[in-house]
């Protein structure tokens, strides 16, 4: 598999506090990599190191195959864009002027492509409106346009949906999916809004206290978050006998409630229970969420 970003035992110490403790991660090319962790887990620190804003205490990373200690890392960074905490914009400038400024920094000979970028992020009609008067969602989308100015093929977004209203969240999600599918841009997205991340990510990395707890694909997560059937019966003892005969995995929760970790035929189950003199009162399908999976990985405590 080809990787856009690989980190190897990255460590970052601030005086006595260790923000990253030998973090190793692999972001596959073309993926939307969900970087999941609590506040203070080290997500933003990693972003800052990759962007060159901060220096790692030890360890290294590879960006587009270029080692962080090589001089070529400056050129490799040219192929990525990033929004860390907040998009980098000049509040007194319009959307177009902000993009023109980025073009100047990139040394582009002309401003061709700015209109396309603006329409790509849905800001083609903002005309003379200054960025300081933009909504948070508009600023985030302009931030993505700014990050894409040099036709980048890797974007790192730190909490891109924080503070957005529901409409803004949907627009941001659609934009990320569009850029990933149509332009093949690889995304590294950090977030602790896991339900939203679950709608986007194709790979996940779970970080806790500066360490990578686990990396897995969305398919692997789906398998791990296996579905269960929650049933309410008149007697769980009778239910247990029936499920044992059917060789199904289950967990008794109380005298009347149980979880079945399989998908038995309902009519078949009702008939079998009836034979045992047990009534099925209700049943509902349940699925473990990404949030639940994350909690099961890192425990329920808080870093804050």
């Amino acid at each position: 598999m080809e990787y856009v970003l690989r980190t190897n035992a990255l460590t970052k110490k601030y005086k006595k506090f260790e923000a990253l403790k030998g973090l190793s991660m692999n972001v596959p090319k073309g993926s939307i990599y969900g970087f999941v962790g609590r506040n203070g887990a080290g997500k933003t620190t990693l972003f800052r190191i990759i962007c060159g804003l901060q220096f790692s205490t030890s360890g290294e990373f590879e960006l587009f195959g270029t080692n962080s200690n090589d001089a070529g890392i400056l050129k490799a960074r040219n192929r990525m864009g990033a929004i860390v905490e907040a998009p980098s914009l000049f509040p007194e400038m319009t959307a177009r002027e902000n993009l023109e400024h980025q073009y100047k920094l990139l040394g582009m000979p002309n401003y061709d492509g700015i209109s396309e970028l603006l329409s790509l992020v849905g800001l083609e009609n903002t005309q003379n409106k200054k960025t300081k008067n933009f909504s948070l969602g508009m600023r985030q989308r302009l931030g993505i346009a700014v990050a894409l100015c040099g036709n980048q093929d890797f974007l790192m977004l730190d909490e891109p949906i924080n503070g957005l209203d529901p409409q803004g969240i949907i627009e941001m999600r659609e934009l990320i999916l569009k850029l990933n599918r149509e332009k093949g841009i690889t995304f590294l997205i950090s977030s602790h809004i896991l339900d939203e991340l679950a709608k986007l990510a194709t790979y996940y990395g779970f970080i806790d206290s500066g360490k990578m707890v686990r990396e897995m694909s969305a398919d692997e997560i789906e398998d791990a978050c296996h579905k269960s059937l929650k049933v309410n019966v008149s007697s769980t003892a009778a239910l247990a006998r029936v499920l044992d005969k059917m060789s199904l995995e289950y967990k008794i929760l109380s005298d009347n409630d149980a979880n079945i970790y399989a998908r038995p035929g309902i009519s078949e189950l009702v008939t079998a229970l009836d034979k045992e003199g047990c009534k099925l009162n209700s049943c509902s399908e349940q699925e473990e969420t990404l949030e639940g999976f994350f909690i099961s990985l890192v425990g329920g405590g808080s870093n804050e």
Partner: protein, 249 residues
């Protein structure tokens, strides 16, 4: 590097504060010349040029550093530096671009100030034959080097240490406060070489002592340039060292 210069210059020339500074550099000499002429018609140009030396130090010197500070700290807070780094620019180039662009800002301010001072003097009707333009040019050079050290370099250093609005207050206080030891020491030890060197490092103490006038050549200009340039270079070197090692947000 040229890309950075282009981008930084465009930010400078877009800034309303820059034009505010230019207006100040026009307003101060023009009005001071006029006011001196009206209060004593036929008086020599010397009178307003003493007042203007003080105004130049107090207001323009402060404004030059303040503007650089505001625009550079905006780069820190807006994430502009992050963009520059991601685009593959080296920290040393980013720093060099600041020094070049804001030195240009300083030069523009000083040239406009002196230009308006001389032009308004001619228009108002002062006797310009007393002016030695060679000495005036040398004075401009001395002031430029002094402002580079304790206005521009100091503001860049403070912004790198503390890149937010508090930096402006610290710069303002420091710019004024650094003049105090020199002035006090000069009163007590007027012939001390160390006091002489200290005074020549700080524009506000040097230029406000002994009623210096813009049209009268300053004493030992090259010595003054050497002192203040050394001070400026040391401050810039410290600022660069800190910026190269700084963990940015």
């Amino acid at each position: 590097m040229s890309k950075l210069l282009r981008a930084d210059l465009s930010v400078l020339f877009r800034s309303k504060l820059f034009y505010g500074m230019i207006l100040l550099c026009i307003f101060l000499p023009a009005v001071t010349n006029l006011e001196a002429y009206l209060s004593e018609p036929g008086a020599p140009l010397l009178a307003p040029s003493v007042t203007l030396t003080m105004f130049l130090c107090l207001f323009v010197g402060n404004f030059i550093g303040g503007l650089a500070l505001v625009l550079i700290s905006a780069e820190f807070t807006s994430g502009e530096i992050r963009n520059k780094l991601i685009m593959g620019h080296k920290r040393s180039d980013i720093f060099a671009s600041w020094v070049i662009v804001y030195s240009l800002e300083m030069l523009i301010a000083i040239i406009v100030f002196f230009g308006v001072f001389l032009l308004s003097g001619i228009i108002i009707g002062y006797d310009m034959s007393v002016c030695d333009f060679g000495e005036i040019l040398m004075n401009m050079l001395v002031i430029t080097v002094m402002f580079f050290g304790n206005s521009l370099a100091l503001s860049i250093l403070i912004t790198i240490i503390l890149p937010d609005t508090k930096a402006f207050i610290i710069f303002y206080v420091l710019y004024e406060a650094l003049a105090v030891p020199g002035i006090l020491l000069y009163e007590k030890y007027p012939d001390s070489i160390i006091v002489k060197i200290i005074n020549r490092c700080f524009a506000l103490s040097y230029l406000t002592l002994d009623d210096k006038a813009l049209i009268v050549g300053f004493d030992e200009p090259w010595f003054t340039i050497a002192c203040s340039l050394t001070f400026g270079v040391v401050i810039i070197a410290i600022a660069k060292l800190l910026f190269d090692r700084k963990d940015l947000k």
